[in-house]
Structures are given as structure tokens and as C-alpha cells.
């Protein structure tokens, strides 16, 4: 079921269209990756979902009904540009921000106690924010984002500024929140983390959505017929490749083996390809190279920009 859906959203700023008929659909209890180069319109879309700004036109629905201002308390938002009141005490500040999300003081205190213990930062409760290290502040900010148990969580570049240990902690927590029923919109440039935690993605480029779908389908869709095989070092591969018209990309001798990366030029199936290869070569391994999200991202954005020109 869809938790959040945006249809044909348009947003104009004076003389500049920030979002041009963008539609996204976020399934419940999934991690949705919102990707795109800087200035593509991701932040604008996130702000629309947070009701910080309103779209000029387009439909928004939440849990199957019209998106209303009441729904804001069901959303948790960790902005890319993070910040807290520097002079305010950590605990007091967390209670305050939880209250603004509609929690009672009592519930906020109870829930905060749980999270502070979990992240082992109870001793910081009465410290001012400016006395905390950056990593500590990030943890506090994360807790504030999830404290009111939102149905929809929006993380904008959540891992920037985190050390690897805390990045890992955060990743685990995000996936755990998903297992507990939360839906997550995740915006980042870090394609490695996209592959690790996203189920679906949408790619926005120059105000338009240029790609969306299940992450595995997309990778499948963008594979370019590149294969990697290993055969014996002495095999005469050049002749085989020439007769079949394969594009040799890389080759390397490793001991008694030779590793070859090539691209097929005809539309043959993997089985047909294997047949052709095994007829002439002793194969030790055969693997189709699936592009990673980084490659997909670069390819799609470049294509879209070229089309524009």
C-alpha cells in the first residue's frame, strides 16, 4: 500500500521552475531513495512533503487520503542543514521539539529516556548543545527526528558528518525503524548507502523526474551487456572474440588464469553467450556485470543533460 503519493507536482520560484510535473509514490514500510544532483529540486520536494512550502499545483495524498496539515505530526524530518539551539540544554531542547510535534511532556520524557539510554548519551541531558561534539549533536538530532514515532521519516543526507561507527549505528537504526513499520524517504548523494538500504528510488534531474522504480529492476534495466570471465592463461582468446564480435575491454593474467572483461555486441541471451564461449575456451568463471547505482546515476544524468542540449 502507498503511504505517500505525489502526482504532477509543480513548484515555481520567481522565474525558475523548481519541480516540473514530478510524481512519486512511496510504499508503506519501505525505504525510498530520492536521488539527484545538487540543485535538481530534491530539497524543494522534501519541503513540500514537510509542508514547509506548498506546491503550485499537483495532488498529494497520505495514507490513502488527501494530505492535510494534521499529518505533519506523523512526519519526522532530519534536514541536511542541521542545527539546534546552541545555548539550550540538550534534554530541555529535545522535550521542546517533541512538544512541537504534538507530544505531551510526559510522553516526550519517557521516550527520550529510552533513546538517550540506547545511544548512551544520558550524561549529556543537562549539557548545553554547544558543549557537545559534532557526532553527539548528530545523535541528538536523530533522536529528535524519530522521537514522536512518525509514520513517515525523511532523512536528507543523514550520514554526512558521521564517523563510520556512528554511520553504521544510524543505518541499523533506520532499518530497524523500517522493520517496526516506519516508511522512510532517504535523500543522498552516497550511492553506496542507497544500494544498501533503499528498496525504491526516484531520480530527479533539472526539476524533472528522470527515473524511478525498484532498485534491482533499475540496475537490471541499465546493464550494458558487460561480462567478466576467467579462462586459462594460455587460451587464444583474441580469435574467439574476433569471430563473435565481442568488444574486449580489459584483460589481465593472474597466475595460470586470465581475467577478461568484454561487452557483447549482439542481442544474444546469456545461455547463447555461454555456449559460444564454452565451444572455444575452458571457462573457470562467468559473471554478468550489473552496474552499480553510481554508474546508473551518472549515465542517466548525462543522458538527460545531453537530451536537453
Amino acid at each position: 500500500m502507498e503511504l505517500f503519493k505525489a502526482t504532477d507536482v509543480i513548484k515555481d520560484y520567481a522565474g525558475h521552475r523548481a519541480l516540473d510535473r514530478v510524481s512519486i509514490s512511496v510504499r508503506e514500510q519501505s525505504v525510498f531513495g530520492l536521488l539527484g544532483p545538487n540543485g535538481a529540486g530534491k530539497t524543494t520536494l522534501i519541503r513540500i512533503i514537510n509542508q514547509i512550502t506548498a506546491p503550485d499545483s499537483g495532488e498529494l495524498s497520505f495514507m490513502g487520503r488527501r494530505f492535510s496539515s494534521q499529518d505533519i505530526s506523523l512526519i519526522g524530518y532530519l534536514p541536511e542543514e542541521r542545527g539546534l539551539y546552541k545555548k539550550m540544554k540538550v534534554g530541555e531542547q529535545a522535550v521542546y521539539l517533541a512538544q512541537l510535534k504534538g507530544m505531551s511532556k510526559h510522553d516526550a520524557l519517557k521516550s527520550l529516556k529510552y533513546w538517550f539510554e540506547k545511544f548512551e548519551i544520558q550524561p549529556w541531558w543537562n549539557k548545553k548543545v554547544e558543549e557537545l561534539s559534532k557526532g553527539m549533536q548528530q545523535k541528538v538530532q536523530f533522536i529528535i527526528t524519530v522521537i514522536h514515532r512518525p509514520k513517515l521519516l525523511i532523512f536528507d543526507e543523514p550520514f554526512s558528518g558521521f564517523d563510520p561507527i556512528n554511520t553504521n549505528l544510524l543505518k541499523t537504526e533506520i532499518l530497524r525503524l523500517k522493520d517496526e513499520g516506519a516508511t522512510i524517504i532517504f535523500s543522498t548523494h552516497n550511492m553506496g548507502s542507497v544500494e544498501e538500504i533503499c528498496d525504491h528510488i526516484a531520480l530527479i534531474n533539472q526539476s524533472k523526474k528522470v527515473l524511478d522504480g525498484n532498485i534491482h529492476d533499475i540496475k537490471e534495466q541499465y546493464k550494458t551487456g558487460i561480462f567478466e570471465i576467467e579462462t586459462l592463461a594460455g587460451a587464444n582468446t583474441d580469435e574467439v572474440f574476433q569471430t563473435h564480435g565481442f568488444n574486449l575491454l580489459e584483460q589481465e593474467i593472474r597466475g595460470i588464469r586470465k581475467r577478461i572483461k568484454f561487452q557483447k555486441t549482439n542481442g544474444e541471451s546469456n545461455n547463447e553467450l555461454l555456449y559460444k564461449l564454452t565451444a572455444n575456451l575452458e571457462l573457470c568463471s562467468f559473471r554478468e556485470v550489473i552496474p552499480d547505482m553510481n554508474e546508473v546515476f551518472i549515465q542517466v544524468v548525462n543522458q538527460a543533460n545531453q537530451k536537453r542540449k
Binding site: 520567481a14 519541503r47 514537510n50 509542508q51 514547509i52 512550502t53 506548498a54 505533519i72 505530526s73 512526519i75 524530518y77 534536514p79 542543514e81 542541521r82 542545527g83 539546534l84 539551539y85 546552541k86 545555548k87 539550550m88 521542546y96 521539539l97 512538544q99 512541537l100 510535534k101 504534538g102 538530532q141 529528535i144
Partner: protein, 439 residues
């Protein structure tokens, strides 16, 4: 609205609990009291040390002119003894040694010897005595030479001292004793307090908005509440901080003014201090203090307090919403300058014309400055103790109220766009464009 209350509470509590706020709120009334009471109290402190002063009168004009008082006694000595004593005054029982030469009338000079610095009081007491006696002697000589009978009495009778009583007649034809000085003082104080609070607390709103913008917390907050709620909570919260401070000042000052004289053990201090203030203000009549109190109570206090509250809050709302918009539009402290200038110029202008206006509260400058909303909080308040026609007051209040509404609308537009715009230098043209955005 509930969320605005949560914001308001935070804005209020974090500021009221600040050390600087507590210190300023407690200290200022004491300083103020110290500056008014202390000089009077010190002046009251009589010199209670017993002193004997030796007098050597070679002129022979002063044999019975030095009378012993409670603390100071005089001892006449002949010239021979004086010469001996002069060099050994440190070992003697005398505090000082006054030498009056025989030609004092011609030279107007006398000498006072002592082993230490003679106190101001003693010095002025002695010179005063010498002056009076010599002046009286000279005068008598002139009168005798002129040969006009009763000249002294006639001269005394010619001395005049005019007391101009000002009486204000109200619409019902009742006359009320008024005092221009008291109205001026009340007007000046009221206008100045409004100016000061609007300036300080308006700037506080601006810094609060900037703090949220530069620390980026604003994005988290407005994903929970509407920007207008945030702005409302902030402005009202800080306004209440200002009212709290003012209230504390009034209470503490009242307590000091009533408790301290009793504590010191004499009401004389109060009288003295009032006398001194009155003397400074008018150039010196003694019982003006009592008249002043009567005249203060003749001021229309309920009207003054009511309008004060209105203009205090009105001026604050008007300026703080604009300053809040400035805080939202800029990225750092340095950039605020170019926008603060146009916002604060009318406020500074009103304090510049404040004094001319209380000197002439009926002029056309006074009228326009008390209708234009950017100066009216200070200027109208300064005029009210003098009495202002009802229609003028109503006009001024209505214009101010409408302007607040308009300003908040405009400021809200600037605020909403500005707080989310980082790292971009904006100019006035750009800001004007924001106002026309639909949202």
C-alpha cells in the same frame, strides 16, 4: 495556537532565566535609586566632630560675630599668641587657626592655618561669616553716606519673587492645578522608556530570528509549526519579557523609595531628595516638592497608564515584526546593518524630536509625528501628559493598529521566504519581490 503557546513559553523562559536579564532587572532600579537618594542622604549627614577653631582678629571687626555651635567652638587669641601657635598647630588642641588681617575690608583676604586639609563645610562656613559681616559693614557705610532715611527697609521691600501658577481648565470648566515641569518630565520619561524598550527588545527579536536561521534549527521547527506561529510566539514571548522587566523595575523602585527612607530612619532624606530634584528642575523653590506630588496626582494617571501600555505594545509589535523580518532576510550579523538602518531611522528620529515636542506639544510637527505610526508610540506618549484632543488620540491609535496589521503581514511574507534561504546575499529589491509571492 497551542503550539504558539509552547514557543512563546520557551522564548519567554530562556530569556527570563538568563543571568544578564536577572542582573539588569535587579540592578537598574538600585542604581537609579542610588543616583537620586544617595546624594540627598549624604548631604544630610551632618558633621558631628567637635572642633575648636582659634581666631586671631587684627581688624577688630568680628569680636562677637563667631558664635559657638553644637560641634564647632571658637576661641579668640591675641596676636602674640597667634605667632607662637602658627608654627606649632599640629601639637595644639585647635583644629584650625583663622587669621583676620587688619586690612581685610580692603584686600578681602584672610588666612586659615591647619595641619591638615580643612573640610569644605568649615571653609565655606568661615568665609560665609566673613563675607556677611564685611558686606553688611560696607552696605551700612553706603546707606549712611546717601543719607536717605529708611533706605535699607525700602531696598528690602523692592525685592520681588514672582510665582506663576499654571492652571489647566478641562472641558467641564473645572480648573486643575497643573505643572508644565511635571508634564514635561512625565512625557519625556514615558516617551523615552518606550523608545528604549522598542529598540532593545526589537533587536532581541531580530537576533532570535537570526539565531534560528544561522543555526539551521528553523527548518526542523517549521516542519512542525507554521512560520507565522513561530514568529507570533517569538514576538509575543519577547514582548512579555520586556513587560516583565518594566514591571519589576517599577515594583523594586517603589519598594526602595518607600522602604529605604524608613530604614535610614528619617523622612528627611526623601524630602531632601525631592527638594534637590525640584531645585534642579525649576531653579529652586522649597515647597515645590509637595506641589509636585499634588500635580503628579493631578495628571490623568489612568489615561497615561492605559495609553502607555497601548503604545508600548504597539510600538514593539510594529518594530519587532520589521526587525524580525530583517533577521530572516540576512545571513550574518554584518549584513543586518544595511537593513537595520532604514528600519530604525524613524525610531531614532522620534527620540531626536522628543525634546522639541515636549517644549511645544501643540505644533504641527507634534501632530504629524504622533499620527505617523513609526513615530507615534514615542511622540504621542510624550504629549499625553499635556492633554491631547480625543480625536487625535483615536486617530493615532487607529493608524497604529492598522499599520501593525499591515507590517505583520509584510514581515510575515519576508520572514517565510527569508528563513529558508541560506548563503545568498539579498538586497531590498529582492525582498520586495518576496512580498508579492503567493504561498
Amino acid at each position: 495556537m497551542n503550539k504558539s503557546i509552547i514557543i512563546l513559553k520557551r522564548e519567554y523562559l530562556t530569556r527570563v532565566r538568563k543571568k544578564s536579564f536577572v542582573i539588569l532587572t535587579l540592578l537598574v532600579p538600585f542604581l537609579f535609586a542610588a543616583f537620586t537618594i544617595l546624594p540627598a542622604w549624604l548631604a544630610m549627614q551632618d558633621d558631628t566632630e567637635k572642633r575648636t577653631i582659634a581666631v586671631c582678629d587684627e581688624s577688630g571687626l568680628f569680636p562677637d560675630k563667631f558664635e559657638n555651635t553644637e560641634f564647632t567652638s571658637f576661641h579668640f587669641i591675641p596676636s602674640e599668641e597667634f605667632l607662637k601657635l602658627k608654627d606649632h598647630i599640629a601639637g595644639s588642641s585647635f583644629y584650625a587657626l583663622l587669621f583676620i588681617p587688619s586690612d581685610i575690608v580692603e584686600t578681602s583676604r584672610a588666612e586659615l592655618f591647619s595641619d591638615r586639609q580643612v573640610t569644605m563645610d568649615i571653609k565655606s562656613m568661615l568665609s560665609g561669616k566673613l563675607e556677611t559681616v564685611i558686606e553688611a559693614g560696607k552696605k551700612k557705610q553706603i546707606i549712611d553716606q546717601a543719607g536717605i532715611p529708611d533706605l535699607e527697609e525700602r531696598l528690602a521691600a523692592a525685592r520681588t519673587n514672582i510665582k506663576l501658577e499654571t492652571i489647566k481648565v478641562n472641558e467641564k470648566g473645572e480648573s486643575v492645578k497643573s505643572s508644565t515641569e511635571v508634564a514635561m518630565a512625565a512625557g519625556y520619561v514615558a516617551g523615552f522608556i518606550i523608545y528604549m524598550f522598542v529598540f532593545i527588545y526589537g533587536a532581541m527579536v531580530m537576533r532570535g530570528v537570526m539565531e534560528e536561521k544561522t543555526s539551521r534549527i528553523v527548518e526542523v521547527i517549521i516542519s512542525s509549526v507554521k512560520p507565522t506561529q513561530l514568529m507570533f510566539g517569538k514576538i509575543v514571548g519577547i514582548g512579555l519579557v520586556g513587560l516583565t522587566q518594566l514591571l519589576f523595575w517599577i515594583i523594586i523602585l517603589t519598594v526602595i523609595m518607600t522602604v529605604v527612607p524608613a530604614f535610614i530612619g528619617t523622612e528627611e532624606v526623601m524630602k531632601q531628595s525631592q527638594n534637590m530634584m525640584a531645585a534642579q528642575a525649576t531653579g529652586g523653590e522649597k515647597n515645590i516638592a509637595l506641589q509636585g506630588i499634588e500635580m503628579i496626582s493631578n495628571l490623568n494617571l489612568p489615561l497615561i497608564l492605559g495609553t502607555f501600555l497601548f503604545y508600548f505594545l504597539g510600538g514593539f509589535l510594529l518594530y519587532s515584526s520589521l526587525m524580525g523580518a530583517v533577521g530572516a532576510a540576512v545571513d550574518n550579523e554584518e549584513e543586518t546593518q544595511q537593513f537595520m538602518m532604514p528600519v530604525t531611522i524613524p525610531l531614532i528620529f522620534s527620540i531626536i524630536i522628543l525634546f522639541p515636542i515636549i517644549k511645544n506639544p501643540e505644533g504641527s510637527l507634534a501632530f504629524w509625528a504622533s499620527v505617523i505610526p513609526f513615530t507615534s508610540p514615542v511622540i504621542m506618549m510624550a504629549r499625553i501628559p499635556f492633554g491631547v484632543p480625543v480625536w487625535e488620540l483615536v486617530l493615532s491609535m487607529v493608524v497604529l493598529a492598522l499599520s501593525i496589521w499591515g507590517t505583520i503581514w509584510v514581515a510575515g511574507k519576508i520572514y517565510r521566504t527569508g528563513i529558508l534561504l541560506y548563503g545568498k546575499k539579498v538586497n531590498l529589491k529582492e525582498i520586495l519581490k518576496w512580498i508579492t509571492y503567493k504561498n
